[in-house]
């Protein structure tokens, strides 16, 4: 047992480092005087100063967060419900068809989805805006949520829900008190996933974004022609540090 856990821990931590390697680099370069982060040209706060003044970046960041949060909440709700529905459907043909269909958005090229949504919104005369972006993101996040939540649902012992009903719980109560707490890790994971995908999506966003709804990725990609400014490094650094702060905070809260 022991040696096993040690091995797991070390690989686990190593993998985590791997994930953070580029982030460290990027944070370092957010302090690099050189605009073309080719090599180290000395320390500077310039990029943070620029960032502080750059209203358009602020707007883009705000848009990204709004889109990510709302679409994640929507997708998680829809996905969770649908997953539980599917579990309840006795193993019928309908279930298999649905399972396949609801996963389809996962398996088509993003750009096709982008084009499809663009054409759709235009044809039905929905003016492109932040709303259309949210609609789109929710659409491709629902299956993501479902895939993860259902992996979790399979493991749930049906007897527990039975016991809850038997003790007089309404379906809703049984969900709130029993199913939900046991599903929470899965839902949390799914939510994180959706949030992450949404935060970083470029293609679908571009095709569904309307006037005044530029998100961070759109902003960054469009810098390609004139050179991506190290402001983005600075911004990324700030995002990372902030999130870390939140983690630390929740840790502290758990301690108590």
């Amino acid at each position: 047992m022991k040696s096993g856990t040690v091995w797991l821990r070390s690989t686990g931590i190593a993998t985590l480092l791997f994930l953070y390697l580029p982030i460290i680099v990027l944070v370092v370069f957010s302090f690099n005087a050189s605009r073309l982060s080719a090599q180290w040209q000395g320390f500077t706060w310039d990029w943070y100063r620029l960032l502080a003044r750059d209203a358009s970046l602020h707007a883009a960041t705000a848009n990204s967060l709004v889109v990510a949060v709302i679409s994640t909440v929507l997708a998680t709700g829809l996905g969770l419900a649908a997953s539980m529905g599917l579990e309840r459907l006795p193993g019928s043909r309908a279930r298999h068809v649905l399972e396949g269909a609801l996963l389809l958005p996962l398996i088509i090229p993003e750009i096709m989805m982008g084009v499809a949504l663009l054409l759709f919104f235009v044809t039905v005369k929905i003016p492109l805006s932040l709303t259309t972006v949210i609609l789109g993101h929710t659409a491709f996040n629902v299956p993501v949520v479902m895939v993860i939540v259902r992996a979790r649902l399979r493991k749930l012992d049906p007897r527990l829900e039975e016991a809850a009903y038997d003790l007089g719980a309404s379906p809703w109560q049984a969900f709130r008190r029993i199913t939900w707490p046991l599903l929470r890790p899965g839902v949390l994971g799914a939510g994180l996933m959706a949030l992450t995908i949404s935060l970083d999506d470029f293609i679908v966003t571009f095709f569904t974004a309307g006037p005044g709804s530029t998100t961070l990725p759109l902003k960054v990609y469009s810098m390609i022609k004139s050179g991506v400014s190290p402001e983005i490094n600075a911004l990324s650094a700030i995002l990372v540090v902030l999130s870390m702060g939140l983690v630390a905070l929740s840790l502290a809260l758990q301690r108590r």
């Binding site: 038997d166 007089g168 379906p171």
Partner: protein, 364 residues
């Protein structure tokens, strides 16, 4: 059969199939209000399946369940006035012992200040007060089972369904729990339907017993009836150890009846109220405790068969012998464990004696 009037639970020829297997086969039972009713049967008999249909987790393929006289067809579990103690406990892994027990009351919107004392009482009853804040994973098997018991009983439902409620408990605790259950039943007048495969438990606790096998109900009756006058060989064998003889039953001129056994060369005196044509075959079942062993044939008994002691089993309060009447016939004999009667040693020769009036004679 009892009239629906005083029946608390009634099942009308329930049928349940699991794929190919016919788990429950036309089961019709009627449990009286306030009765302690046991379903006794071998593993795989369909006991759990019946309970699950009573609780409403499985819909019968045929038949119907009546509780308090009303059909339960389509009534979801949370609307049935019954509580089930699961054979697999089904404790909520993320809730503490106390929270598990309180669950039912909370679901029924009982005010907090009422819940607390009732939970305390329930935990006292199952002697788990000290472990109220443990998670199920931190409990021993028996402790888990007791939590499951408390979680159901605290709700004081009209009917409590128990699936092997005491299987993980030791003799003593088991007896204490039995007493608790009986008290609750008498005080609160709850109806208990208890699935068990523990004959002694069923016999001592139950007002009535239904013996099941292969999905069918074989016999329903008071403990005495079941044990003394089993309706079928299976019941006879299942309810307790039995020694058997088969043969043709005939009556002689003197009005006394005989069994010409296939196993023994001397005829056996029997006594039954039933008329035997004289050509029918019968199965005689003798209980180990009804047999007496003596060094010499004892005239007080009509039947005296020589036998040799083969094995002596020490069982604490009593001692069991396996005696060999002949190559084909090995019998169990049970005697109280008392210093006075020195137990015969293996190999010893002795006589197995019993009265004609003893034993049950069934048509074979």
């Amino acid at each position: 059969m009892v009239s629906v009037g005083d029946a608390s639970i009634e099942t009308l020829s329930l049928v349940k199939r699991h794929g190919a297997t016919l788990a429950v086969d036309r089961v019709s039972l009627s449990v009286r209000r306030g009765e302690f009713f046991s379903i006794l049967g071998p593993s795989g008999a369909g006991k759990t399946s019946v309970l699950r249909m009573l609780a409403g987790f499985e819909t019968p393929d045929e038949g119907d369940v009546l509780i308090e006289g009303r059909s339960m067809a389509g009534v979801p579990p949370n609307h049935r006035p019954v509580n089930l103690v699961f054979q697999s406990y089904a404790l909520f892994p993320h809730l503490t012992v106390a929270e598990n027990v309180a669950f039912g009351l909370e679901m029924r919107r009982i005010p907090r200040h009422e819940i607390a004392p009732r939970v305390r009482a329930a935990l006292d009853m199952v002697q788990l007060q000290g472990k109220r804040d443990r998670l199920p994973a931190q409990l021993s098997g028996g402790e888990q089972q007791r939590v499951a018991l408390a979680r159901a009983l605290i709700n004081r439902p009209a009917v409590v369904l128990l699936d092997e409620p005491l299987s993980a408990l030791d003799h003593q605790l088991r007896r204490e729990m039995q007493v608790e259950l009986k008290t609750i039943q008498e005080q609160v007048g709850l109806t208990f339907v208890c699935v068990t495969h523990h004959q002694e438990e069923a016999l001592t606790m139950s007002d009535r017993i239904a013996v099941m096998n292969g999905g069918r109900v074989l016999q329903v009756g008071r403990p005495g009836e079941i044990y003394e006058t089993p309706a079928s060989p299976f019941v006879a064998r299942f309810i307790g150890l039995s020694n058997e003889l088969t043969g043709i039953v005939r009556s002689d001129g003197g009005g006394s009846q005989w069994l010409d056994t296939d196993q023994l060369d001397l005829p056996i005196r029997v006594q039954t109220d039933r008329r035997w044509t004289g050509r029918e075959r019968g199965l005689l079942i003798l209980r180990p405790e009804r047999l007496h062993v003596a060094g010499a044939p004892d005239p007080a008994f009509e039947n005296r068969v020589p036998a040799r002691v083969q094995q002596v089993l020490y069982a604490g309060s009593d001692i069991r012998y396996v005696v060999r009447l002949n190559d084909r016939v090995h019998w169990h004999v049970k005697a109280l464990n008392s210093e006075t009667a020195k137990p015969p040693a293996p190999g010893e020769l002795l006589y197995v004696c019993w009265r004609a009036s003893e034993g049950v004679l069934l048509p074979a």
